[in-house]
Amino acid sequence: MPLDRALHLHVLLNFKIWIHLTGWAAFIVSPFLFPLPFLKPLPAYAFQYLVYSRIGIDLLLMGIFYFNLFRLTPRLISHNNTLSFILILFGFLMLIIVIDSFSFIFLKKHLQGFFLEVSKIDPIRKDLASSRFLSPPQLITNIIVFALIILVSSLLAVLDDRLRQKAYSQDIIYEKVKSELAILKLQISPHFLFNTLNNIRWLTRTKSDQAEKSIIELSDILRYMLYQAVHEQVYLREEINYLTKYINLQKLRISPHVKIDFFHEALPGHIKIEPLLLLPFVENAFKFGIHSETHSAITIAIQLTDKELFFFCINPCFDLPSHEFPNGSGLGLQNVKRRLDLYYPMKHSLLIESTLSQFIVNLRITLANE
């Protein structure tokens, strides 16, 4: 995991660096891509000087860009220091204007004659000849460029901040869901537990051989729930073992005229599944499908074809406990539905048919192979 992270960071950083480099290359080179006509006849040293001074200013702007991106705007976001933010920006702008003007004036002093000539030919370029400190076009250009620099770097900083916040809240949601799932997995029906203990109590009193077997089965079930179920996935074989033991314990309390069938063919040993997904259905079947007088039959079948698991459960529907409802709105079935959605999104189908006399569950899950 740490190696993956390092690699990802490396790649990401590279990508970002390339974007920045390209941006700056374009920014620095672009003034020289549009040749100003009056520059053509300039002597070489003057041209060189212009290039250097322009690049110098650009480097300064670059510095301001990154200062704003990493320091100024983040501070503004977290501390809300609008006034000092504006003052600092204003200070930088003044700095740029002053430096640019000085460098241009320096050049003009040396090329006084040349610029006089240019202004005669091109009256629009009159300002080049003047010895004014701040020439309007230059001023406007500087302000616009500065504004763009600040705008882009601030936007990037805000974007960064938003993304970081989003990732943080995603993390929180993830942790919350994880712990919810952990709690959902560990739900054992207290009713079943205490009933079984009571049944074992009777078996011990009558000195039945079944008592020891039932105690072992119960402890196996509890162990499975507590230890295995905490892991991410379990072998399908183990889950079926667990269901078999559960059904055996249920059989203790069932009258002979209730027929229980649990069909599961020999399964390959490497198939894995999320634990405790099938138990709620089996529990339900025993809760609603038993009647002390009437004949009833519960049929449960598990089949595996290729990577698809089929779970089938049918039981008659007798009178329900007054505090519960059919059709899966009980807590146990709600849990399973939620877990199915979380672990096998789009990879399962759950069909529950609830008529007056019967309750049928048809579950299909596409299992990923380990």
Binding site: N195, N198, W202, L203, I290, F318, D319, L320, P321, H323
Partner: protein
């Protein structure tokens, strides 16, 4: 001395068996077992009972519901002992 007639209502067969076994050890008590509230209702129509052992969580009518539906004459003669088998 008159024996006390008990009625035990529970959907769990072993729970009834345990109770029957325990009550069987007390000579002054007799016990009739009922596997559901319906059965208990029928039995109450035709028999006189003095003690009622009632499980609360049962399929169909819950123990408490069963109690509220008991006819008045039965109340007079009934001493209630309620056991929640959970």
């Amino acid at each position: 001395m008159n024996k006390l007639h008990c009625l035990a209502v529970d959907d769990e067969p072993f729970a009834l068996d345990i109770l029957a076994d325990d009550i069987g050890k007390i000579p002054e008590l007799t016990l009739v077992k009922a596997r559901s509230a319906y059965e208990a209702k029928n039995l109450l129509e035709y028999g006189q009972f003095d003690l009622l052992f009632l499980d609360i969580q049962m399929p169909g009518i819950s123990g408490l519901q069963f109690l509220t539906e008991l006819q008045a004459p039965h109340w007079l003669s009934l001493q209630l002992l309620s056991i929640n088998m959970q």
